[in-house]
Point group: C2
DNA sequence: CCGATTTGTCACTCATCGGTGAGTAACAAC
DNA sequence: GTTGTTACTCACCGATGAGTGACAAATCGG
């Protein structure tokens, strides 16, 4: 009932003004799309994250996103795949010349490392914000990938150190991680958290000191 | 299914199929709008929060929202006004028969109260999620109202108890609040936080115990 | 060289959004 | 009644969202 396919098409060879020599390379285009999606998510957040925006940013047609990734879901999944290696990439393995003798030593260091890493990764920050704001399949995938990576990282860093007896380490660590994540998100969104300013380096020093004190309090 | 632009409605006085006895009462309408907005925000989150949705839910025309509240901003502001009394309404004043001898006693109790209160207030939960996801004028207003109310509440509950020397209470408390908020948000969105399940009452008991331990650790 | 497939572009539908101008229905005072 | 004000509804606008089918052009297999 709509356009008759045979009718239109005036003259096919319409002269394109400036046909920029665009190389046809599927692999490169796929990478460009993924890169654009990550950058967009990092800069704009999940609010304005959509097919059109990604296509615009990637400088290609949105149709290609459907073709190559099967839509937004697939694209998000591809982002999630990268996320698996986040901690590995972002957080140094070595102990910075310190001797980590106790579990408390370890967790103090890891807390600060995690805080740092999160603080300068806008993409992951946005994803965390997304995680606590929505509960769609997309987000669940991202969240799962992230938390799994985090857990294995924590486990690997623990090494042979044994946590103190009688403490629910999983629960305590979850709370510590929650605190760090929310602190960074709050700061990123409004520059403060529960009355604590979080803008200058000095502000962050105070936060880090308080965090250390808390970790030390619970893990000795 | 809605209006077809081609169908001519002869006279604007379109026949309402059901002559719902709609009372003309500006005050009531305003309240209905506000109520609809809060319910919508609580249930759907800020994602689908807009003029059209609120009007639809309130069962009135969106024009009235512009007229009575000056648009979404004004409406959000009205919601924020209610938020000022949140803690007062939600959290009991009395100490539950306990003697709060130390600052640690107090903060342990307040932490748990805050956790509880946040856990069963979907509206405030959504607002907190909003706070960490966006940075618009709207959200800033809400955030400010909430954090101010929280601060004065904390101050008032402190009474004559003096916090331990040498501890940056503002920073430490901010981190505790951050932890609680993120914990509840995570649970609400995905039923878990950093590998810690947060669904059953038992799960929450574990979280509460861990939280108590942390508070005790830092405040003795 | 030719035909088929891949790669990319365009044009379109349909839905919904925020926002506005213009109109109608109830009600009170005269 | 008539008039004026208040409360409310409707129809439309431009913009933008996701999604789809058709087609041009580059590339490849032969």
């Amino acid at each position: 009932m709509l356009n008759d396919p045979m009718v239109l098409t005036p003259i096919a060879g319409a002269p394109r003004a400036e046909p920029e020599k665009r190389v046809r390379d599927r692999g490169a285009t796929e990478k460009a799309i993924l890169k654009a999606a990550k950058a967009l998510l990092a800069e704009e957040g999940f609010q304005n994250f959509g097919i059109n925006a990604v296509a615009r940013r990637a400088g290609c047609d949105k149709q290609l996103i459907y073709r190559y990734y099967g839509g937004l879901n697939g694209l998000v999944e591809a982002i999630g795949a990268d996320l698996g290696t986040w901690v590995k990439d972002k957080i140094p393995e070595d102990t910075g010349g310190m001797f980590l003798l106790t579990y408390g030593d370890l967790m103090e260091r890891l807390s600060l490392l995690f805080l740092e890493a999160l603080r300068d990764d806008p993409l992951v920050r946005r994803i965390v914000a997304w995680e606590v704001s929505e509960n769609t399949e997309q987000v669940r995938r991202l969240s799962e990938a992230r938390s799994k990576a985090l857990a294995t990282w924590l486990e690997r860093m623990r090494g042979s150190l044994t946590p103190p007896k009688g403490v629910d380490v999983v629960a305590v660590n979850a709370i510590l991680i929650a605190a760090i994540q929310h602190l960074v998100l709050s700061a990123s969104a409004g520059g403060q958290c529960a009355g604590l300013a979080l803008k200058t380096a000095k502000d962050w020093d105070k936060a880090a000191t308080a965090l250390k004190r808390i970790v030390r309090g619970v893990y000795g």
